[in-house]
């Protein structure tokens, strides 16, 4: 079973994504802040990561960069969820290495489709 790590500080979003992805037959592990997310990304060897941008402790961009510049984890696809806020726009030009950007408000079907594109 393919394993997906969902990192978001919004419990509701995690619950929704977890529900639809599990219904599609994926295993989900979750984290509600950046630090925990990074730890799980490195220790739980997920097949794909869904990452929110604005989070306490470590933001999504930083996590993405840390993983993508590390040869051990760089092959894990990252789907980044963004709300296109001003702070986010400021750093959007930076190279974060994320494979896909999904803008809020998103449709769950769209997320599922993207996940399927990467890990089948």
């Amino acid at each position: 079973m393919k394993k997906i790590l969902i990192v978001d500080d919004e419990a509701d979003i995690i619950e929704i994504l977890q529900f639809v992805l599990e219904a599609e037959g994926y295993e989900c592990i979750t984290a509600t802040d950046g630090e925990e997310g990074l730890k799980l990304a490195k220790e739980a060897s997920p097949d794909l990561i869904i990452l929110d941008v604005m989070m306490p402790k470590i933001n999504g961009y930083k996590i993405s960069r840390l993983l993508k510049y590390d040869s051990k984890y760089k092959n894990i696809p990252i789907l980044m969820i963004t709300a296109r806020s001003q702070e986010e726009d400021r750093v959007i030009g930076e190279e974060t290495g994320a494979d896909e950007y999904i803008t809020k408000p998103f449709k769950v079907d769209y997320v599922v489709e993207k996940v399927k594109n990467y890990i089948g």
């Binding site: 929704i16 529900f19 639809v20 296109r84 806020s85 001003q86 809020k104 408000p105 449709k107 079907d109």
Partner: protein, 694 residues
């Protein structure tokens, strides 16, 4: 009493003169030696001098010559008493008139009187003359002072200019002005010839405060006074005795409101003219002071407004960001239920869940639009312009909206001109504009309606002659691509044609509620077209249909360059960074190698993001490279387009140094090293100067 000096050592002459002048009241002061003459001259002012040619022990001729050279006596009229014979007539050169012996009483008196009369006339004339000179000088000072006053908007500086003017025109010993800006901002400006003793300074503070205490609306303390002192001479000191001098004082009023006081002191008494000059100068300052205060108020208000504007757009941004996350949750939850994953959904449930879903979609559209609008208004919207075939964009949008049209049995037909030039647009933003127009057309058209989309090329005349625009920008491109989106829907009444492009002014609210939408789509489209230097307008007939038109400029390379530079300037202004532009001439060094050179010489920052451009003009290709975040501009003066921007940037963007000169650039045969040297000396010199100033 009229004083006559008689210079003679002859007793008979003295007696004779006294007798001859006895009919009038004269004071005869006689002197019989050269020393006594000089002593008398220094102590007394004579009205007339009479010399006796026959004086035995006085060298009359040399004495007269000496007195003519002496300050106190040179202007005093003189008569010489001559003997009957043995006269050196040379002496007559040095005196005003002569009387020959034996004296005729009437002639003698007539001569004395006429000389005295002449003296009076001269005195009046010379007084008038010096009065005139003084008035002229004062007028001159008044004039220069008022010119200076008009040139400043700094309150303290204005007062200083006024006191300078007073000092110059009235030769004051001391002058002070107390000005009250606010309760804790009181300035005392003292200008004097000599430095002030400490007790005089304290006394002036007290005098300034106490004398006008009843006029102050605030209750200032002596410790709140900020003293600014100037003096001309180093050696000497003013002390309390200055209060014994003649003085003039006046309040300084602005619009009948008390602002401060001014008092001046002079050792010699003030004449009436001086008083006039004083009051005029003091009055003169009140108007510029008023402007200065107004200017400060406006500046304050502007800063507040800018802050509010920024707060507003930040607020909108934060709000819309915060709204997105809950909207996502609601929408996703609804999706999951509607899909039946959580259990069977009956018809009624589905109906209401769909209502909820439709409104969530609408809400998120409004949030997007609000965010877009606030970004555009704050100048924060970023564009990525590129050359594009607009037909492809139109087709893409049409395909995306095909399903929405089919749901209402509306057919969308394309009539695209395949020979169109490429346009310089931000494709994503243009899609947004087109999506808006086409989805509007779908919304406002009845079932089985038809929407026709046409693209064609037009000349700028069609825009110039269009009555829809009340004003047009100065510069129009020669040709435009016109896109028309025509529907056969409900139409828009003429009085609403312009309103549809204004914010939050959706007409017929009930209808818009039925069809959904934020009411911001067209205002956003209008602003996006502005950013493209394009136009949007409409034609409509009620119940027959509406056609929306877009005109997108077909820009030449020069226009594209200008446009992109304009964008950079806007961005730099927003972000408070500097822009550098390096413009290089054809065939000398191309933009890229020059840029590398400049980088290696540390003239430009390594972190700067460069944009390279080139365009052709008069069969020559020009290379440009410009960067944001720079301290200076470098321009090639020869290129017209750039020249315009020197002006624009100079006016609007004063934060950076502008370095431009075609002399900076190497002439034929010279190489890039020379350019580097020239630039280096130029920009470094500039920076050093700035450091000194700061």
């Amino acid at each position: 009493m009229t004083k006559i000096f008689l210079i003679s050592d002859n007793k008979t002459t003295l007696e004779e003169v006294k007798r001859l002048t006895s009919s009038s009241i004269y004071e005869i002061i006689s002197a019989d030696t050269e020393e006594s003459v000089e002593e008398a001259v220094l102590n007394e002012t004579a009205d007339l001098m009479i010399f006796d040619y026959s004086a035995e022990n006085i060298d009359i001729i040399s004495l007269i010559r000496r007195l003519k050279l002496t300050m106190q006596t040179k202007d005093i009229r003189s008569i010489i008493l001559l003997p009957e014979k043995n006269i050196d007539y040379d002496v007559l050169k040095y005196v005003n008139s002569y009387i020959t012996r034996p004296f005729n009483e009437h002639l003698f008196q007539a001569s004395v009187n006429s000389n005295l009369q002449l003296r009076d006339t001269f005195r009046v004339l010379s007084k008038n003359n010096s009065d005139l000179a003084k008035s002229l000088y004062q007028l001159n000072v008044l004039y220069t002072t008022s010119t200076h006053l008009a040139g400043s908007l700094d309150k303290t500086k204005l007062i200083e200019i006024m006191t300078d003017g007073l000092e110059q025109s009235l030769s004051l010993s001391l002058c002070y002005a107390l000005i009250l800006n606010e309760a804790n901002d009181i300035k005392l400006i003292i200008k004097s010839i000599f430095p002030l003793s400490q007790r005089l300074e304290n006394a002036i503070k007290l005098r300034a405060l106490l004398s006008y205490k009843n006029l102050f609306s605030i209750n200032p303390s002596i410790n709140d006074i900020d003293v600014i002192k100037y003096h001309k001479d180093q050696f000497g000191e003013h002390d309390l005795n200055i209060f014994g001098y003649d003085n003039l004082f006046a309040p300084i009023n602005i619009k009948n409101k008390f602002y401060g006081i001014i008092e001046v002191f002079r050792e010699t008494d003030f004449a009436q003219d001086d008083t006039k000059c004083f009051t005029t100068l003091v009055k003169q300052v009140s108007l510029p002071l008023e402007s200065a205060i107004l200017y400060e108020e406006i500046k304050d208000t502007n800063i507040k407004l800018e802050k509010l504007e920024r707060l507003k757009s930040e607020f909108i941004s934060i709000v819309s960001h915060e709204l997105r996350t809950p909207l996502t949750s609601i929408n996703s939850a609804l999706d999951i239920i509607l899909k039946g994953t959580t259990g069977e959904v009956n018809d009624a449930m589905e109906k209401f869940l769909n209502i909820a879903k439709r409104n969530v979609t609408r809400l998120s559209a409004i949030i997007y639009d609000l965010l877009d609008l606030s970004k555009i208004e704050a100048g924060k919207m970023e564009f990525r312009f590129e050359k594009t075939n607009i037909n492809l964009t139109v087709e893409l949008v049409k395909n995306t909206l095909e399903n929405l049209a089919k749901e209402q049995n509306i057919s969308v037909n394309l009539h695209l001109d395949n020979s169109l030039d490429l346009v310089y647009i931000d494709t994503q933003r243009m899609e947004q504009v087109l999506t808006n127009l086409i989805s509007n057309a779908i919304k406002f058209t009845h079932e089985n309606g038809i929407i026709e989309i046409t693209s064609s090329k037009i000349s700028s005349d069609e825009i110039r002659n269009n009555n829809f625009f009340s004003s047009l920008p100065e510069h129009l491109s020669n040709e435009y691509v016109k896109i028309a989106v025509k529907d056969n829907g409900i139409g828009i009444a003429p009085e609403n044609w312009n309103k549809v492009f204004e914010q939050f002014k959706q007409i017929e609210n009930s209808l818009s509620r039925k069809v959904g939408g934020s009411g911001l789509g067209l205002p956003i489209a209008k602003r996006l077209m502005d950013a493209h230097k394009g136009f949007i307008w409409l034609e409509s007939e009620l119940n027959k249909g509406t056609t929306f038109y877009l005109a997108i400029p077909i820009m030449n390379e020069g226009e594209i360059f200008e446009h992109s530079l304009e964008q950079e300037i806007q961005k730099a202004k927003q972000e408070h960074t500097n822009i550098a532009l390096i413009a290089l001439r054809e065939n000398i060094i191309d933009g890229i190698s020059a840029k590398d050179k400049l980088l290696s010489e540390n003239i430009i920052r390594k972190t700067s993001v460069f944009k390279d451009y080139s365009f052709e003009k008069d069969n020559k290709r020009y290379y440009y490279s410009y960067a944001v975040d720079m301290d200076s501009f470098v321009f090639d003066f020869e290129v017209r387009q750039i020249e315009t921007y020197i002006k624009t940037i100079g006016d609007e963007y004063q934060a950076c140094d502008i370095v431009y000169s075609s002399a900076l650039f190497p002439q034929d045969g010279e190489n890039a090293d020379i350019l580097i040297k020239k630039l280096n000396s130029f920009s470094k010199g500039d920076r050093d100067e700035k450091d000194i100033n700061s």
